[in-house]
Symmetry: C2
Subunit: 374 residues, 2 copies
């Protein structure tokens, strides 16, 4: 069986994702598509609009064969760590090709950019831009432009990091791009007939024309935004005198959090604490770590460069199950479904953040969903 991989958040699954998946299947002629998907908190530092179990189900219903959870400690991270965690899992699962969306749709150009990353010149220049007060994405964009005269978008940045991680892991995975159509991930306006960005869709009153029917139905159920957690965040920031022990809290930013925590909404709070030094994404990721009470000490017990010590199935169909069975000897990492099957720091963090995310609904532990494709 030929397996390919995609790295996704599906927050929520929309027509653009469906297009990407259909193209990947057509180009690869794969027998099995594996998605590594963020869990309940996503890379931009937000709770996923739909919980991970339902998002995994929607992924299967829309054509994915096997959905693997990207652990929290990789998903709520800058692009390089997010990419590394995801590629490492796909590498462990022995996929042959990775398909990712790209504005430039030019893998060679992205590889060229990656080749500059570990040069002394890159390190010197990026340090200069950072010292001038640029945030990291901006500094690396400027550095790449200086060295290659190529500009890359935030979406291509993820592709670059995937290629970089494949290289770091000396993996045989072949990176492939698929042209992104009609929408930029960060577009808040959407006027194309059937494709809009996830960000735009999350803000729509009625996203009917932009999402498959099952996503549309799911969005009528319980959805989650930072606003639902803002009161808990306020309480946490008020009640914790040791915020500097929380992961990602650096350079006294906790004082800005404490100063503005009485803002009347999360959005107002975020605008008040914003400084040029940090991206909104980085600030939100820091706040997710505060909400979930993840300490610097917790991270120092993990070795992120080793990758996840388990592969957790969130959902699969018969095809996905067949792939795992056929390859079980070659896959050296334990494949699990329930959290209780493994006992380590990475999973204990996963359990905690899942409980916090689910708190409003007070759910019990979910079982992974197993679907038949037809």
């Amino acid at each position: 069986m030929k397996a390919i991989g995609v790295i996704v958040e599906y927050n929520p699954f929309h027509n653009g994702h469906k297009h990407h998946l259909d193209e990947a299947k057509k180009l690869s002629k794969a027998d099995c598509v594996i998605a590594v998907m963020s869990g309940n908190f996503v890379q931009r530092g937000e709770p996923a609009i739909i919980n991970k179990w339902d998002r995994a189900r929607l992924a299967i219903e829309n054509g994915i064969d096997l959905v693997i959870e990207l652990p929290f400690v990789y998903s709520v991270q800058s692009a390089d760590i997010f990419a590394f965690g995801a590629i490492d899992i796909l590498n462990k699962l022995k996929i042959r090709e990775l398909y990712f969306g790209s504005e430039s749709n030019d893998v060679d150009s992205l590889k060229e950019i990656v080749s500059t990353f570990n040069t002394v010149e890159f390190q010197t220049r990026i340090k200069k831009y950072l010292d001038e007060g640029n945030n990291y994405p901006s500094a690396s964009g400027k550095t790449v432009y200086d060295l290659t005269k190529r500009r890359f978008t935030s979406n291509d940045n993820l592709g670059i990091q995937y290629i970089n991680s494949i290289s770091k892991l000396k993996s045989s995975i072949e990176p492939k791009t698929i042209q992104r159509v009609h929408s930029n991930y960060h577009d808040k306006n959407s006027d194309h007939a059937s494709i809009a960005s996830a960000t735009a869709i999350r803000l729509m009153d009625d996203p009917f024309q932009y999402v498959p029917k099952n996503t549309y139905e799911a969005l009528k159920g319980n959805t989650y935004t930072w606003n639902h957690y803002y009161e808990l965040l306020q309480y946490k920031i008020i009640s914790d005198p040791d915020l500097e022990k929380i992961a990602f809290v650096e350079e006294g930013i906790e004082n800005r959090f404490k100063k503005y925590i009485h803002a009347s909404s999360f959005e107002e709070f975020l605008n008040k604490v914003y400084t040029r030094r940090y991206t909104h994404n980085r600030i939100r990721r820091t706040l997710i770590n505060i909400l979930c009470n993840i300490k610097k000490d917790d991270y120092s017990e993990l070795n992120l460069l080793n990758g996840a010590p388990y592969v957790r199935v969130l959902a699969m169909n018969e095809n996905g199950r067949k792939y795992l069975n056929l390859n079980k000897k070659e896959i050296k990492t334990p494949i699990i479904s329930k959290a209780s099957e493994i006992n380590n720091m990475m999973m204990s963090i996963e359990v905690r953040v899942t409980e916090i995310y689910d708190k409003l609904l007070l759910r019990n532990e979910f079982k992974p969903l197993i679907y038949n494709k037809n």
Copy 2:
């Protein structure tokens, strides 16, 4: 000026309190009545039904001259520590007499009970009862009965602790009892014409006949119960892997908290975690410390046996102000009103618990209220 003291919670101020205050004034012919009052969290381990600033105002409007805050670290405590913190403040303020309600109304009998406390026989017997699985109030009641053949109620227990603290502090304060009328503090039923317990009043839909008009009006405003904080408590218990570092958390009770925290209401949760080994009060006090994130380490930085290092005025009238002015040379402890006037661990805990209590209203810092008596 002759000053007398009362130790109160006024949760809320009711006709029984008014009766007590009138009797104390009549018997003492005092020029000034000072109340040491619990702040936003009370001795039985609950948020006060009305915030401390409004309760202080109601106290002044109903005849108290000076309201002093009993710091959180003394108010949410067993009777002995609660009593010690309050008596220490009144002692520092040079009052002559303490008036407290008593079922037995027999000071000599209470003094006799106190005289047994530091005997070897008392210690031996109480240890035996505790080892048999009795909680502390029950064990001490049985011990006192064995040694004196006297029974004492939970309310007399506070009186006993006041007398014991006066003795420990070698204070010249003279303890005086006032007969409690027609109501037991823990009565949930109330059928007397105008007096009901605070507990009963808090549960009433319409307490009109049992409270002064101003209390009645205040009860129509924002009131606070554990239910308002239950979601925050759930979040705290779910998100803190180090609950055993919280003050009062002993003997693995945190595991019971984690086990039952998905109960649908605070009352259901409390009933589930209850064990004979602890009183409901002690469990609730432990939960208040969890809610307010007060650590064992915080307490070890305090020396409760030294008393509070400040006297904080919550409200006063001209009479109270005059008393403080006349005695300012003899009162060696700093008298403050705003939290920012003092910087130590006890006050930083006070600020934190006040912010958490007020969280739902997101209030700014209050200024102390100063009233004219007429």
